[in-house]
Structure formats: structure tokens, C-alpha cells
């Protein structure tokens, strides 16, 4: 019952007039800025961090959290309507944009909103019940275990590929190669940087995503000389009951995946989205439709992203370790307010911790209430004619990339990837597997080499550690099952019963 008492304490703080106001301001401001193409949560928080300096501690943190969720939601709007994703909607934009092309923008936005709500709610339950214990989950994973986990991630390639599997694999490997750019952790040698300072730490995920999706998409639209607006103008926001029934199970599956992956340092929400998409592709009843605009393809990743975003607060608040750039910013906000996130934070500042947890849920409700009626106004931004809209989108993309490192060179890198992304579209190659390779490749390499370094070159470490041994055996079984399945299908196909309709992953 302690939990309920704690939550009651939290809600009593979160629902105070002042904090409610900060939460609302955070959500609205976050949504508006996140809505601008090219500006995602990271940029939004760093731009707005100074706003919170003069606000009382709990209000400031609640407002920042609100900005974070708001920006994530806003981001999904630009991803779904225009295929301009930031890190938090790289996967959502695949099916979301397809839905827009089919005139189902409203449904896609509603799905994203409701799924985020479900993801948020699930992860808050996790956060409230298990936060102190879950902080240690990250500690159970050594380098070898990450290697196994990343290999698992590569299986997703087959899932997110639309069209030829060979193309998908090729793109994934290009992504891995792009991920090699930058300074090698183990030796300090710069790789493929051509002596350029700006890519000494590697190519930014945001530059790559904005370039390959956003800018390339704009270029394609100009190229097509169509007078099509990004969405049909008419927005049917409220889904029918059967449609609504399709959202819930996918969002719940996504939330479970996201809640877990959010606990692990590294890619967090981004990897969670890919994993949730893969789960949908394997287990959803409508798996055949995923990839060309299905509700499940939006609901799963949205739920996972939101859940992972919230559970990624756990390592920060329970052991004081920020696991991604957004959490590092949140941490700096805590520190400036004189609160050192660490093992004693929950005990030392219960009002703050539980207030924040409760306000996360309050923020979720806000976003839902706010966005259902307001979404048509948000979208009216996109009714601006193309010749005004496109330059302004590019302008915001520039601001978005620049604001991350305050470095003009990043803008050039983004532009270069815009060109490359446009070429990919022209030769009908899909950029999603490239993203996956880009995210997972460097983590796989870094952890593999670290595992080998610590084991002094012995491969035994992968079977000695229970987590990696388990994951690798599941992976082996899965691959065996797929190969056998494919062979059986091929034989059936050859005997003329019916042609093999899908290529096995």
C-alpha cells in the first residue's frame, strides 16, 4: 500500500494549481515546437531549458518533462503528415506517412496519440512499482549481452524492409558502414572522417534521419510536380469502433517492449520502436498490411517510443546515470536545481520523484485532451502553399540540426544526406533498414570489441554469461525455424500447389 500512498503524495503535488499549470505550459510549448519540422525533443528541450531556471524546482522539472512528451507528440505529427521524423518517430513515420498518402491522416494521428497514452500509462505503472529495483537491470547487461541483443535487432531488418530482402540487407549494411564514421573508441583512430572535424564523433542520427527522410521526401514532391498537399485536408480524427479495437493490443505490445528496452543504456526509444515494429510484423493479426499504412504499424512503435522514453528516467533517477542525450539534459536540469540524481534521490526527495511520476500521467491526459480537438489547428500549418511551406521546412530542418551541437557543419552533413536520400528514393531503395543498421551497427561493434578485450580474446564469454547465452540460443532457434519454414514453402511452391507468397526473413 506504500505505493498508493506514494502515488497519492505524487498526485497531490502534480495536481496543485501551479504544477498543473507548468505541466500544461510544458505540453503545449513542447507540442508547438516539436511540431515544427526538424525540431525534435532534444532540440526543443535544449532551446527551452533556460525558461525553467527561474521556476521552483518541482515545477521546473514537471515543465521539462511536459516539454519532452509534448515535443515527442509534436514530432510524430510532422513525421506522419510529411515524413519528417526526428529520433522519436523514425519508425512511426513508415506506416504513418503511408496512411497519410491514403488520406487517413486523422486516423494515424489519433492512433499515435492514443498509443502514446497507452504506452505512457503502462510505463508509469512500471515506474511507480519497480523504479528502485529496475535501476539495476542496466547493470545486469555486460558487453557480451549487448552483442546478443544487437544481433537480435538485426533480425528486424527482414521485418522493416518493404520489397526485396536483398535491397533491405544492402541498405542495412550501408547503414552499418555509415555508423563506422567517426573516432574508434578502442584506439582513438578517426575512421572515414577525411580529416573533417565535424564528423570526428560520427554522423548524427538526426542529420541522417532528416536528410534521408525529410529532405529527400520534399525533393521528391517537388520533382513529382503534383499539386497534392501532404494530407487531404479533411481530417477524420475519431476512428470507428473496429479500428479502435485494432489500436489497443498493438499499443499494449509496444508498451511492454518499450518499457523494457527503455531501461537499457544506448539507443533506448529508437531501438524500442524498431523492436515493437518487428513484434507487430510477427504477431499482429493484420501483419500482412504492415508497411503500407496499417494502424498496427503506427500503434506499436508509438506506444513503445513513449514507454521507453519514460522508463529511461529510471536509470537516471535510481542510479544517477543518464542513458541518452535527452536524459543528460534532464540531468543537467536536476543538477542546476541542486538535486543530484543518484541512489538516494527517491528517498531524499520523495515529493519530487513521485510528483514527477504523477505529472507524467497528468501530462499524458493533457496531451490527449489537447490534441484531439486541436489537431486540426496544428495541421492548418501545413495548408500553407508548397512554395512557402517547403523553404520554411528546410529552414527549420537547418535550425534543428544546428541546435544540437551548435555547429554549422552539421547542416551541410544533413544537406548531403538529403541528396543521398533523394537518390535512394529515385532508385527505389528504402531508407528504414539503413537507419536500423546505423543505430545498431556501432553499438554491436563497440560492445563486441569490448567483450573480446575484457575476455582477452576468448569467445567463451558469449556462452558463459546467462543473458547472452539465452538470447543467442533463441536467435539460433528462430533462424533455424525461418530457414526450415522457407525451405518447406519453397518445396510446396515447386510442387505447384501454390506459389510462395512471401520471402522468409
Amino acid at each position: 500500500m506504500e505505493i498508493l500512498q506514494n502515488l497519492a503524495l505524487g498526485f497531490s503535488h502534480a495536481l496543485s494549481f501551479e504544477n498543473l499549470l507548468f505541466c500544461a505550459i510544458g505540453c503545449v510549448v513542447g507540442t508547438v515546437i516539436g511540431l515544427l519540422p526538424g525540431l525534435g525533443p532534444l532540440a526543443t528541450i535544449s532551446l527551452l531549458l533556460p525558461l525553467t531556471y527561474s521556476i521552483p524546482t518541482s515545477g521546473a522539472l514537471i515543465m521539462l518533462a511536459g516539454i519532452y512528451y509534448g515535443a515527442q507528440y509534436g514530432d510524430s505529427v510532422s513525421a506522419i503528415t510529411m515524413k519528417i521524423p526526428h529520433a522519436s518517430s523514425i519508425v512511426t513515420c513508415i506506416d504513418g506517412y503511408q496512411m497519410t498518402l491514403k488520406g487517413k491522416t486523422g486516423l494515424a494521428l489519433f492512433t499515435a496519440g492514443v498509443s502514446s497514452f497507452i504506452g505512457g500509462t503502462v510505463s508509469i505503472v512500471v515506474l511507480a512499482w519497480l523504479a528502485p529495483q529496475l535501476g539495476r537491470v542496466a547493470l545486469l547487461f555486460g558487453p557480451a549481452d549487448y552483442v546478443a541483443l544487437m544481433l537480435f535487432g538485426f533480425v528486424c531488418v527482414s521485418v522493416i524492409t518493404t520489397g526485396s530482402l536483398l535491397n533491405g540487407l544492402a541498405m542495412c549494411l550501408i547503414g552499418v558502414l555509415l555508423g563506422q564514421v567517426g573516432t574508434d573508441v578502442e584506439t582513438g583512430v578517426p575512421r572515414f572522417t577525411f580529416g573533417l572535424h565535424s564528423i570526428a564523433d560520427g554522423i548524427g542520427l538526426v542529420s541522417l534521419a532528416l536528410g534521408c527522410f525529410g529532405i529527400a521526401e520534399i525533393a521528391k514532391n517537388i520533382d513529382a510536380r503534383e499539386t497534392r498537399t501532404p494530407f487531404s485536408g479533411r481530417i477524420d480524427l475519431i476512428p470507428t469502433w473496429p479500428e479502435f479495437k485494432r489500436i489497443v493490443p498493438s499499443a499494449l505490445r509496444g508498451s511492454a517492449v518499450g518499457s523494457f528496452l527503455g531501461l537499457l543504456p544506448g539507443g533506448g526509444p529508437v531501438i524500442a520502436q524498431f523492436a515493437a515494429y518487428a513484434v507487430e510484423k510477427k504477431f499482429s493479426r493484420y501483419r500482412d498490411q504492415i508497411g503500407d499504412g496499417s494502424i498496427e504499424g503506427v500503434a506499436g512503435p508509438s506506444g513503445a517510443d513513449e514507454a521507453a522514453a519514460r522508463t529511461s528516467f529510471i536509470p537516471l533517477m535510481s542510479i544517477g546515470i543518464p542513458e541518452n542525450a535527452v536524459m543528460a539534459l534532464m540531468m543537467s536540469a536536476f543538477i542546476i536545481k541542486g538535486i543530484q540524481p543518484g541512489p538516494n534521490m527517491i528517498a531524499k526527495h520523495p515529493d519530487l520523484f513521485w510528483g514527477l511520476v504523477a505529472s507524467m500521467w497528468v501530462g499524458n491526459v493533457f496531451l490527449l485532451v489537447l490534441n484531439v480537438p486541436l489537431v486540426r489547428y496544428w495541421l492548418s500549418i501545413f495548408k500553407i502553399p508548397y512554395d512557402v511551406l517547403f523553404p520554411s521546412i528546410l529552414f527549420f530542418c537547418c535550425i534543428g540540426t544546428f541546435s544540437i551541437n551548435n555547429n554549422i557543419d552539421d547542416v551541410y552533413v544533413t544537406a548531403a544526406f538529403g541528396l543521398i536520400g533523394y537518390l535512394f528514393i529515385k532508385i527505389k531503395l528504402d531508407a528504414a533498414p539503413l537507419m536500423l543498421g546505423f543505430v545498431l551497427g556501432p553499438m554491436l561493434e563497440e560492445n563486441f570489441r569490448r567483450a573480446m578485450l575484457i575476455s582477452r580474446g576468448s569467445f567463451d564469454v558469449f556462452v558463459e554469461r546467462p543473458i547472452s547465452a539465452t538470447l543467442l540460443s533463441i536467435l539460433a532457434l528462430f533462424l533455424a525455424w525461418q530457414v526450415v519454414g522457407a525451405m518447406l514453402r519453397a518445396r510446396r511452391g515447386r510442387s505447384g500447389e501454390r506459389p510462395a507468397d512471401t520471402v522468409a526473413p
Binding site: 578502442e186 584506439t187 572535424h197 570526428a200 543504456p265 546515470i321 543518464p322 541512489p343 538516494n344 551541437n405
Partner: protein, 326 residues
């Protein structure tokens, strides 16, 4: 002869008066603090805390610009490209100004390309071990690493050529312990792997969440790299006192830097302003809460001597372990 003398004196007086005018009119416009690390983390928090205070003293807008990348060398380089009139300040550590150019080829400067105005606060390092490592003292640890048949110990750092890397190497060289370097990207993942028993030891700055991790036994401290025992960690001996590695003192300190070409008077004004910030209650509270130690304000001459010693120390180790510019 005479006219020349007069001219020279006049010139000198003129220069002096220009310098005074410059000092009096400093700051003439907004002051930019370049912070060569991403937002978040202890050094960035320091920048954010002194920013409003400096704004109050200078009566000018002060902005903090985070320019991360390549061990901070991107930010330092950007700072060096700005005019040397004191309106561009750098808030960095020796990691950025001294160590980065030793290992990053694209960093075209060295430790002496910047001038330290004063340190802000300092954090000593602890020799931390994973919770399960069976070594109760530094002597045990060295014995463990030298034991016949042992694979030696692993030590973590936040990157090739970073401060914990060089300190670890110095410890290895001085004790003769067998130690394998395991580099990470940043401090957070390295602490996670130390807590999770993946790596054996690391030199961690006593700041941020480290004091609490020690208090809750998630990591252990065998020694501290200060000259005297610390009030906050009375039970932990100094590394020097353990007699295993000679005189072993290190600390990490965010400091305020200007370009060496900055007029002395302007540097003096900045030194005085920062000293005033450091005396303020807000700053002291922040330093204590973030677990590090308040540095006493330094004169410009003291800062120069101190900084020179740091440069020599780290360049010496880098040479010994043949750290290459990559």
C-alpha cells in the same frame, strides 16, 4: 636620442592608457562562454550556474554555448577562432585543453594555446573498484594484479587519452601492476560497467553521483588522489599515503580560460569577477551539493603556475606511454 625616448615613453603611456580604457570598458558587449561538452553533466552545470552571476557582475548578457565533439577540441578550436578581447571565454577542463590535443590529430593547438584565468572547483579522483572485487586496499589490488597466473586487472576510462586513462596508466607504470585499458564513450557507461562488475577498477572523479554510489556500496573506493584525506571520506586513505605509487596527486577542475593574447587588465577583470562569483553563496551551495571541493580563488600568476604544472604532468605521462596523435 631625446625625441626617441619621449616618443617611446609616450607610446608606452598610450598603450597603458589604451589598456586601461579597454579594461574599463570591458565588457563592451555580450560575453560568450564556450563549453566544449554537450549539455548535461557536471562541467556544463558549472557553466550554467556561473552564467547568471557573471551576467549580474558584468551587467552584460552572458551566454553559454555548448560546442561538443572530439574530446572537446571542436569547442576549444571554435573558442580560439574568436577575437582575443575577453568577450570570448572558455569553460573547460585539462581534458579539453591539454589532453585532447595529445591524442586528437585534428586539434591544432596545445595546452599553452589558452590561458587559465582561475579554477572554479576541483574534484579529486578515487581509485574505485567494482563491488565484488576482492581487494580491501591498494596493496591488495596491486598484489592481485601481479599474482602469478592472473590475467591482470581491467581499468575503465572515458576514452583514449582522457584523464582517467592517463591517470590509470601512470598508476600502472608506477606500481608495475598488470592492467588492461578499456575505453568507453563518456563517463556514464563506464560507471555502469564498473557497478555491473564488467570492469575491475577505474579512477573516478569524486563528483556527481559518485559519492552516493560509494555510500550505497555500489562501488568501492580504495584511495583518493588528494594531498590530504578528504573531510567527506575520512576513512579512505590518500594514494600517496598508501606508499604504493609514490606521490600521486590528481584532480579534475573546470576552469575559465581566455586567449593568451587577451590584455592583462581584461584578464584581471575577469579573474576578479569569477572570484566574486566563487565567493557567492549560490556557487558554494552548488559545489558542495555536486560533491566536489571549492577551489580557493587564484591570482592570475598562481593560475599560470598551476596550469603549467598540469600541462607538464600530463604531457610527461603521454610521452611515457607513447600516446599517439591519431
Amino acid at each position: 636620442m631625446k625625441p626617441v625616448w619621449i616618443a617611446l615613453v609616450a607610446l608606452a603611456a598610450g598603450c597603458a592608457s589604451i589598456a586601461t580604457v579597454a579594461a574599463q570598458s570591458f565588457p563592451a558587449h555580450k560575453v560568450t562562454i564556450t563549453a566544449p561538452f554537450p549539455p548535461g553533466g557536471p562541467s556544463d552545470a558549472t557553466a550554467r550556474v556561473i552564467q547568471p552571476e557573471l551576467e549580474r557582475i558584468f551587467k552584460q548578457t552572458v551566454i553559454v554555448e555548448n560546442v561538443p565533439g572530439a574530446s572537446g577540441s571542436v569547442g576549444v578550436q571554435k573558442f580560439l577562432d574568436q577575437p582575443a578581447d575577453g568577450h570570448a571565454l572558455l569553460l573547460g577542463t585539462a581534458d579539453n585543453t591539454v589532453l585532447a590535443p595529445l591524442s586528437v590529430a585534428s586539434a591544432r593547438y596545445d595546452g599553452s594555446s589558452v590561458r587559465l584565468v582561475t579554477l572554479l572547483n576541483r574534484s579529486y579522483f578515487i581509485l574505485a573498484t567494482r563491488p565484488g572485487l576482492k581487494a580491501g586496499s591498494v596493496a591488495d589490488l596491486v598484489a592481485l594484479a601481479k599474482a602469478p597466473g592472473s590475467k591482470g586487472l581491467t581499468f575503465a576510462s572515458w576514452g583514449i587519452g582522457s584523464m582517467p586513462h592517463l591517470i590509470g596508466e601512470d598508476f600502472r607504470l608506477r606500481t608495475g601492476a598488470s592492467m588492461l585499458h578499456v575505453p568507453y564513450r563518456g563517463m556514464a557507461p563506464m560507471v555502469v560497467d564498473l557497478m555491473g562488475e564488467t570492469v575491475d577498477i577505474a579512477f573516478l572523479p569524486l563528483a556527481g553521483n559518485v559519492p552516493e554510489l560509494l555510500a550505497s556500496n555500489q562501488i568501492k573506493a580504495l584511495a583518493v588522489t588528494s594531498a590530504q584525506r578528504l573531510d567527506t571520506l575520512k576513512a579512505v586513505p590518500t594514494l600517496t599515503e598508501t606508499g604504493t605509487a609514490g606521490n600521486f596527486e590528481y584532480s579534475i577542475w573546470p576552469g575559465v580560460f581566455v586567449s593568451p593574447k587577451t590584455p592583462d587588465a581584461v584578464a584581471g577583470t575577469i579573474n576578479a569577477a569569477v572570484a566574486e562569483v566563487m565567493k557567492g553563496a549560490a556557487f558554494r551551495k552548488f559545489v558542495v551539493e555536486s560533491g566536489s571541493v571549492i577551489a580557493e580563488p587564484m591570482s592570475l600568476a598562481e593560475a599560470a603556475t598551476f596550469y603549467k604544472a598540469e600541462i607538464d604532468k600530463f604531457q610527461g605521462i603521454a610521452k611515457q606511454i607513447q600516446l599517439q596523435k591519431q
